[in-house]
């Protein structure tokens, strides 16, 4: 098991190193000048070459790229994560302030996806080609197809025009006011969770259909067990492995999707901070947030791998 763990950790470290290097290089290679956002179009147009040189030096952008990269790694190691180009706030401060909201959205979305996806999948699998199955399949295709940001905007507009309601516009953390916090995170979590729930429903349906044809399920039925016991005790645990796998992958979708969905709901989370940083070309913020998302994604996938090993001894000893 230790060897397995060490191997996974090594792969994760290599992946993160690759991500850090590629995001660092890509952000510096892409066209676009951060000084436009700093000085505005008029100021940028008036800027003389020596002004540019001075400002770039102040921002630390005129140093050789390897030096900039090493300095960034040093900042990460020190937990500072560098400073925004613009307002001088550290990225660590931004993450501490906005991160909890985005994390809540991610976790809630995952819970919603399981709570919705799994029962629907089970229902579909045990009544294949019935009307409920057809309805569940149609709805899951619908939720997979609808873009989250669009659904988010519809929900915001419907709540506004029908009930005159809008969620709080400032960040309220759970420990400050659970009720207000729930109003902020509920919408995005539902939108993201339903979309991921649709994947889980489809995956759990197909896995269960495969498993319920197996000999051990037939044996369980032959023993006279009730159908729900057959499902819960015998079929479901054996069908869950692929669902767990896809949940890890789906967390990536949740992270990616949260960028647009936070924007649609006007939630001041990390996703929105990333959008703003991209627009402003605040590359220090972008590279740190992308790396953070990569760390979360890789971390969750390592956990998924470990849970495999725990759930299935063949993998542990393989």
């Amino acid at each position: 098991m230790r060897k397995y763990l060490a191997r996974r950790a090594l792969y994760a470290a290599i992946t993160l190193f690759g991500v850090s290097l590629s995001v660092f290089v890509v952000l510096r290679v892409l066209p676009g000048d951060p000084l436009v956002a700093i000085l505005g179009a008029e100021g940028h147009a008036q800027m003389k070459p020596d002004d540019r040189a001075r400002i770039m030096a102040d921002l630390g952008l005129s140093d050789p790229l390897p030096l900039q990269y090493v300095r960034w790694l040093g900042d990460i190691a020190a937990g500072r994560l560098g400073k925004s180009f613009f307002r001088g706030d550290t990225v660590a401060e931004q993450i501490l302030h906005r991160g909890p909201i985005s994390a809540e959205i991610g976790v809630l979305a995952l819970i919603v996806s399981w709570l919705v996806g799994l029962p629907v999948g089970i229902l579909s699998a045990f009544r294949p080609n019935s009307m409920p199955d057809g309805l569940a399949r149609a709805l899951s295709v619908l939720f997979i197809a609808i873009p989250g940001f669009w659904l988010g905007m519809l929900i915001v507009l419907a709540l506004l025009f029908w009930f005159g309601y809008k969620a709080p516009i400032l960040i309220v953390h759970f420990w400050q006011s659970p009720w207000q916090n729930l109003q902020i995170v509920a919408g995005p979590a539902m939108v993201l969770g339903l979309a991921q729930g649709a994947y889980i429903a489809r995956m759990s349906r197909s896995c269960l259909l495969e498993v319920i044809g197996e000999d051990f399920v037939r044996t369980a039925r032959a023993k006279g067990l009730r159908e729900w016991l057959v499902v819960m005790r015998h079929a479901l645990p054996n069908a869950l492995l692929p669902v767990i796998t896809i949940s890890g992958v789906l967390l990536g979708f949740v992270l990616g999707g949260s960028v647009a969905v936070e924007q649609a709901f006007g939630v001041p989370g990390l996703g929105r901070a990333l959008v703003t940083a991209v627009i402003e070309r605040d590359i220090i913020v972008v590279q740190n947030l992308v790396l953070l998302y990569a760390v979360i994604f890789v971390g969750v996938n390592v956990l998924v791998d470990l849970s495999y090993a725990w759930l299935d001894p063949r993998i542990r000893y393989g």
């Binding site: 436009v36 505005g40 179009a41 008029e42 613009f86 307002r87 001088g88 915001v156 006007g266």
Partner: protein
């Protein structure tokens, strides 16, 4: 005088001579005022902002405007992201009246004098004014502020610097008197407008020195303004409180400002206003604004923005586009009323020519609408455009033009429409290349485009500002790299002419040249949509020009 500590006392008695003198002045004033078509040219030295006698004090004004600023140095900024939240903390030498947004009135200077030759501007500064850190305000602070604006140090870029290109010396006469000596006279309206610009806030000399004359990363530097910094959450809200030591006694009227950062034209801004989460919203999208207009207890206003939405043709890179006939043909092929219609649900626009269509010196709208290129029926314009293309040797059109589009909804909509118009009317083929804002300005400055669409701002409505910045030979926003000696000569005369009537004639002459040899193609002029709940009193921007001059909230009160 309700504020005798700041301004010298005047004798209260009125004798016969004084009466006759004042009557004569009032009479002359009335004659002058009757000749002024627009309040833009007006300047009222005795109109310091006073509180509305009916005003109630107290309360919190929740105001939503634009995203968070990229930095904190107002002088170095060109965006409402700075002016919106930071203006309430600062004052300027002169200001635009919050009543009409145009008349120039006293601010930190309670009086000013202009020498007969127009080359000396002397400002009398208020006494007893204190910065938020308790320091006294003096002429040294004005000098330090303007020295930096006029001659920015290395690494500091101030877009308003060209407005003061004729300022030679700034001389402190005494702690409360300062003189600006010009190397060459400029029209009063231009100079006073520059001093009254909301961008030119007065900051402490010591603040500038302590920060090596760069305030980009200094969030809370002391001003003398009606509100003081309390706290700020990046990209969320900036909270300010009433300055109890404000020099203008009785102001401000609200106790607290909560300034929310929200993307302009965004559903987030619209929904925050419509749900009552903010009291005043600036830069609303048209759909939310129309909804607000229908709501009871809400006022919605539209006013002119200091921006031109334009289309550039690279006269250096592309031989065909260097030909004035081809550029005029493109200018004529634009169906402007349709272009305004195309974006009506994204941003409010109006048709205009090369000078702000609402400026007193530009061609009046009714006259403009009779000209080719601005008519609703575009057939005659297209016919003329085709004739010009034939004459220039491009009867079969032009192929493969690189059309760089700034990645903003209005420009993307327009780009598709313009591409179709050019193809249909002139057989000009172009390939759209949508790029982010920062890339667009990079490409435009480097000349990496054939056609390009975006928007640019000016500080003043005055034609001299735009003639130099947008159309000047080395103008920072002359992205077409356009030159026309006849125009530059007229523009130089416009800059120097002190007589309004002669200046107006020169502006019209310049417009005629631009019509025939366009440096850019005007697409439209933007309007701003604001809305507020009727409990907010003391501000109605309907006659304002732009969103950069009157944003201090000192006379605003809540019922």
């Amino acid at each position: 005088m309700s504020n005798p500590t700041n301004e010298p006392k005047r004798p209260s008695g009125v004798d016969r001579r004084t009466f006759l003198k004042r009557a004569g002045t009032v009479g002359a004033g009335a004659v002058v005022a009757s000749r002024i078509h627009r309040p833009g040219a007006a300047a009222a030295q005795d109109a310091t902002v006073r509180p509305d006698p009916a005003a109630k004090r107290g309360g919190t004004l929740r105001y939503a405007v634009h995203n968070a600023p990229a930095h904190f140095d107002v002088h170095q900024s060109g965006t409402v992201a700075n002016i919106g939240p930071q203006s309430p903390m600062y004052d300027t030498l002169l200001r635009r009246s919050p009543k009409d947004g145009q008349t120039i009135i006293p601010d930190l200077a309670w009086k000013w004098e202009i020498s007969p030759d127009g080359k000396r501007y002397t400002f009398h500064l208020r006494k007893g004014v204190k910065f938020h850190d308790g320091a006294d305000f003096t002429a040294d602070d004005v000098k330090a502020t303007y020295d930096r604006i006029v001659h920015p140090p290395k690494g500091v870029v101030i877009p308003r610097t060209p407005l003061f290109s004729t300022v030679g010396d700034i001389v402190v006469l005494d702690p409360h008197r300062i003189e600006f000596r010009l190397t060459e006279a400029r029209p009063k309206a231009f100079m006073l407008g520059s001093f009254a610009s909301g961008w030119n806030i007065i900051v402490r000399k010591k603040t500038l020195e302590d920060n090596q004359f760069n305030l980009r990363q200094v969030m809370n530097y002391p001003g003398t303004g009606p509100f003081r910094h309390v706290s700020r959450k990046d990209k969320e809200v900036w909270i300010q409180e009433r300055n109890p030591d404000y020099w203008n006694k009785g102001l401000p009227l609200v106790d607290k400002l909560e300034i929310y950062h929200m993307m302009p034209f965004s559903p987030e801004l619209g929904s925050s206003f419509l749900s009552g989460k903010v009291d005043y919203a600036r830069l609303l999208d048209p759909v939310s604004w129309r909804k607000a207009k229908e709501m009871q207890g809400v006022t919605a206003a539209a006013f002119n923005q200091s921006v031109i939405q334009a289309f550039w043709t690279n006269t250096v890179k592309n031989k065909a586009l260097a030909d004035a006939r081809v550029r005029r043909a493109i200018h004529l092929a634009m169906d402007r009323p349709t272009l305004v219609e195309v974006v009506k649900d994204t941003a409010p626009m109006q048709v205009g020519g090369f000078v702000y269509p609402f400026h007193e010196m530009s061609t009046p709208r009714a006259e403009l609408e009779k000209k080719l290129g601005y008519q609703k029926d575009i057939k005659p314009a297209v016919q003329e455009a085709r004739r010009l293309m034939k004459e220039a040797g491009y009867a079969n059109g032009i192929r493969n033009l690189d059309f760089v589009v700034r990645d903003i909804a209005t420009f993307k909509l327009w780009a598709v429409a313009i591409q179709a118009m050019l193809k249909e009317h002139l057989n000009i083929d172009s390939n759209l290349r949508v790029v982010q804002t920062s890339v667009w300005f990079d490409e435009a400055q480097a000349g990496n485009f054939d056609l390009a669409i975006s928007a640019i701002v000016s500080t003043l409505m005055d034609p001299s500002d735009i003639f130099s910045a947008w159309y000047g030979k080395d103008g920072p926003q002359n992205y077409s790299r356009w030159t026309n000696p006849a125009f530059h000569d007229v523009a130089s005369q416009v800059e120097r002419e002190l007589d309004d009537n002669r200046r107006k004639a020169l502006v019209r002459k310049a417009e005629d040249i631009l019509e025939q040899d366009p440096p850019l193609i005007p697409v439209a002029y933007e309007q701003i949509y604001d809305a507020w709940y009727n409990k907010v009193h003391g501000q109605n921007p309907s006659t304002f020009f732009g969103i950069y001059d009157v944003v201090r909230w000192d006379p605003v009160w809540l019922s």
